[in-house]
Subunit: 195 residues, 2 copies
DNA sequence: CTTTTTTCTGAACATCTGTTCAGTTATTGT
DNA sequence: ACAATAACTGAACAGATGTTCAGAAAAAAG
């Protein structure tokens, strides 16, 4: 056998990325073989190499796509004038964006150590850009006298870490709605940075 | 060759655990081979099996030891009367304990997916015990009217997630001392749960 | 219908994987 | 000094690993 019925790169390509994303998130990059990914897609392992030069590039591509989508989505959110309102918007955005992509988020945080040095540098830079955006809000709030923050860098990381935590426990069938989760977290974030 | 000069289980045993801990944290459980661990210790791979029945047991042992030490250390901290003071003590304890064992902490959070189902259940149970202790403080604070928390379960996870974040950026040679880090985080935690 | 291009198979590659175990040496006990 | 035990080696095992590639079949283009 060779080319199969209905095969098309527009279909197989995305399916490979979806399978890799799910499997990497579930078992870890190192624990997942190219043959497992191929099997999930219904294809032989060799066929994957029409879509990625190697396994490492596949991981990097998934991570950089995620980080760029994150940044682009946040850039698209209209910014209010007051720092408080901007921070509230960020809290909601971050929670919702991350809950929509648990696998990608998981990989972006857990598989950094499996990137080559060059690829790691790139992903880290993207992450810093995103963090700097948040720190900008906190700095603005301090300047305008809205926030009381001894160290905006730490506060940035603390806020993000706190919000990321939602991914470890939230289940859509659970006790709380997305709106309620957002409200509870916003309450804590808002108080944490206030005077 | 066979038994080597100066070999002793009291020495080799701990060295295997240390090597495994560092390597698992650095590259991930699945990415580290028994031969790599053995090489680090200066021994052949077969010798490891005098100290662990298999690789999975080694991982589980490292994780459960960490969780039990964590719980024991927290139990040993004298508890104040007021919830506010207990929460302050917890904040300091948690930050310091975690910063002293970055590798063990990393593994305990990242390698859950590489545990067998039975082992996962045990580790999860230990983690819940620890979390319940924190939630107890928050509940007490709410009852005594010291704290304003709409959902103590979420707040517990949020506080822990925020504090865990310190491990991702803190460096002992860095800008801030441990005391300063503790003070900054306590400021945020305290405000986040207050009225 | 014929040609070209795209997509995939299936086998092969060298190397690595966790684990077992008979045999060998160092240490400990008598 | 010798016997018993503890600690380790080195080879072997069956199978999995990432990656390459000639060839074959389906789809698209002419």
């Amino acid at each position: 056998m060779a080319r199969t019925q209905g095969s098309h790169s527009d279909i197989t390509g995305p399916r490979i990325r979806e399978a890799a994303l799910r499997l990497f998130a579930q078992h870890g990059y190192a624990a997942v073989s190219m043959r497992q990914i191929a099997k999930e897609v219904g294809v032989q392992a060799g066929a994957l190499y029409n879509y990625t030069p190697d396994k490492q590039s596949l991981l990097f591509s998934l991570m950089s796509s995620h980080m760029e989508e994150l940044q682009a989505a946040w850039d698209a959110v209209p910014q209010a004038d007051s720092a408080l309102e901007r921070l509230r918007a960020f809290t909601g955005f971050h929670i919702r964006f991350h809950l929509e992509r648990p696998d990608a988020v998981f990989i972006a945080y857990m598989e950094l150590r499996n990137l080559t040095e060059a690829n790691f540098t790139i992903i880290e830079s993207l992450r810093r850009d995103y963090e700097n955006g948040v720190e900008g809000i906190l700095k603005q709030g301090v300047e305008q006298g809205e926030f009381a923050i001894p160290d905006t860098k730490i506060a940035t990381l603390a806020v993000i870490a706190m919000l990321n935590g939602v991914n470890t426990w939230y289940r859509s069938e659970g006790r709380l709605s997305l709106d309620e989760v957002e409200r509870v977290y916003w309450g804590m974030v808002q108080k944490a940075v206030s005077k």
